[in-house]
Symmetry: C2
Subunit: 347 residues, 2 copies
DNA sequence: TGACGAAATTGGAACGTTCCAATTATTAAG
DNA sequence: CTTAATAATTGGAACGTTCCAATTTCGTCA
């Protein structure tokens, strides 16, 4: 059943040319005559030839594979990011090697090693929690282009693409203040991450700017998941002076917060304002539609891929840190009016 | 910056042995003396050697890569499936090549071709909508082990792993009937898919079994997404005789149905019973927690990977079709009592 | 017709590994 | 102390491609 491998030599023989010519055809070289190209192509089709990239790879170091490693594929933010990367990488004739680390740095080490062994010509990494510059040192020393997404590691000295977490959080909190909220909580997320730090700083700065105190009791960490949101809001509602609004670490937490509110017979939007972060695909269709800081995960994936491809083709480029702008998308979960609701849904 | 490649010969020279011995060490052969092994290993570490899989691959046809192609990575069902596959594949020393087709069969063709070029030694495929046996024919003819997941294509003659959609749908509808519902809708999903067909048949059979009519107007297709669920329930509520309960095509649709109900000021669970399908991770924490037919996507990924690995090691095994059992997980969205709710959440 | 340049084609040496058969070192038995 | 058996090690030929330099083919022009 498993047939003999068909190689370029077989094609060459069948088409009556040399293997060099076949190779030229395979690479789409302009040097080869139209008639011969046709002959070769029919031979390829007839014999069911499949190109052997391992062999090609061995000869010419550049590989047409890029690797992408994410810390949590079950979070739809990262799934969408991967889809964005895939789109541009694919159209550039590359193929994507995707691995999930599940936030485990041990696992991350393994998958990065494995990708290097497979000769990826570039890597997009959303680092696992607690990844340090030292963990990436051997990788960057090898000279293969790397771009970090979502979480930057400044000392690593590689390109990065992050979102403007600070500005986004500020915009969200300003909006809540404008609506008259005076006790605003920051819910969810692991406090020991850079992203948490940035968003929380934006939250604090916006409060300070409005001359309001930034109280520690209103900052409640949790797992950055739906379940984490439930527990965080429960904790917030135990306070003697309850908040009336919350900026959440991300959309998953925000959905969890809505769930937790409902469990207490509070209607998100009407009784308590909630704002998320990321603008995942469900944010728009949820009820109430989630007000959130839009990060456009898919777009970020695309930009990261562009950046990486640019570095791959340009050889070793300077490391650049791109901070991608974000925008507040006001929907219903922070108490939108009916008119605004109609506008958002129809758009 | 980009250093010279370190190869086995360099290691051999540094350790004072032959390249053959280094190769033996690399493969963990028992033939090599403990002392030499140690020498070689330190040399490997000191020179920062990275194994070149392309070269290895070229020599020995079997590759340690398995490919997984899914039709919609942004659907968390498939993301979880991929995570399950990854887990077992990784621990077997394989690495996973993941591609997303976005339901486009053109794209599917491309990624499968690309994977073959990279010499994957097996493939797990969740076929794009409308994939036919003919599309897979060249692949299966090549003798590469393939296992189809989620959507079976009987004529393709390859192994498959699907869930018992018919039985699951029946169980769900029986449950609704027991609770006294008499007008039960089937909402969401593309009617031209095998999965839809099976779930819908289960729905019909359960109605028939109870001596109830299966009305066409109560079967409303839509995109199998949250947004699709919203539109499907809207349409259902336009009927002169409204349903009081629905079995949804999948959990995403079910969440959308809940959203749509809320938009009409109906409380899912209390005012209208909804049951989903798949049991994605959010089903448990949503409010109300979603009653659903549990398919355990991650477990399915694991089983699919096991099946594939077995076929890879065993050479060409007989194609087997596994239908994995499902079970109804009763939570709140179909009108659970308070006691039951407490039990579920604490578990 | 011959010479010339351009266009098209080609043989063979890489690339870094594995595998085989052959060799050498070590141990056990006589 | 030899011999046989076993344990370790080794050179060299693959694997299927690309790339270089060299060659052949062809059309054009003097």
């Amino acid at each position: 059943m498993a047939k003999e491998r068909v190689t370029v030599v077989d094609i060459a023989r069948a088409a009556g040319v040399s293997k060099s010519t076949v190779s030229l055809v395979l690479q789409g070289s302009a040097l080869v005559n139209e008639a011969t190209r046709a002959k070769v192509n029919t031979a390829i089709r007839e014999l069911g030839y499949v190109y052997n990239r391992s062999a090609a790879n061995l000869r010419q170091a550049r590989s047409k594979i890029i690797g992408i490693v994410v810390n949590d594929l079950t979070n739809s933010f990262f799934a969408e990011l991967a889809v964005g990367v895939d789109a541009v990488v694919q159209s550039a004739g590359f193929v994507q090697f995707l691995a999930n680390t599940g936030e485990k740095s041990e696992r991350q080490r393994e998958v990065i090693a494995s990708m290097r062994e497979h000769g990826v010509s570039g890597l997009i990494i959303s680092p696992a929690r607690g990844t340090e510059a030292a963990d990436l040192a051997p990788l960057v020393a090898s000279g293969i282009p790397v771009v970090l997404v979502v979480r930057d590691i400044a000392e690593a000295g590689v390109s990065s693409l992050t979102s403007d977490n600070h500005a986004g959080a500020m915009a969200a909190v300003r909006h809540l203040i404008e609506r008259g909220h005076r006790r605003i909580a920051f819910l969810g997320g692991f406090p020991d991450t850079a992203v948490f730090e940035a968003r929380m700083r934006g939250y604090r700065d916006a409060l300070r700017e409005a001359g309001m105190p930034a109280l520690d009791e209103l900052v409640i960490g949790s797992a950055p998941s739906r379940a984490g949101g439930v527990t965080a809001v429960e904790q917030a509602m135990m306070l003697k002076e309850r908040p009336t609004a919350a900026l959440c670490f991300n959309d998953a937490v925000a959905f969890g917060v809505c769930d937790g509110l409902r469990a207490r017979r509070l209607e998100p939007g009407a009784d308590f304002a909630v704002i998320g972060f990321d603008d995942v695909i469900e944010a728009k269709t949820a009820v109430p539609a989630l007000t959130t800081v839009s990060v456009d995960p898919q777009g970020m994936g695309e930009r990261a891929a562009d950046l990486l491809l640019r570095q791959i083709t340009a050889g070793r480029a300077e490391a650049e840190s791109i901070i991608s702008p974000v925008r507040l998308v006001v929907r219903q979960s922070c108490g939108g009016t009916v008119e605004r609701r109609v506008k958002e849904i129809s758009s």
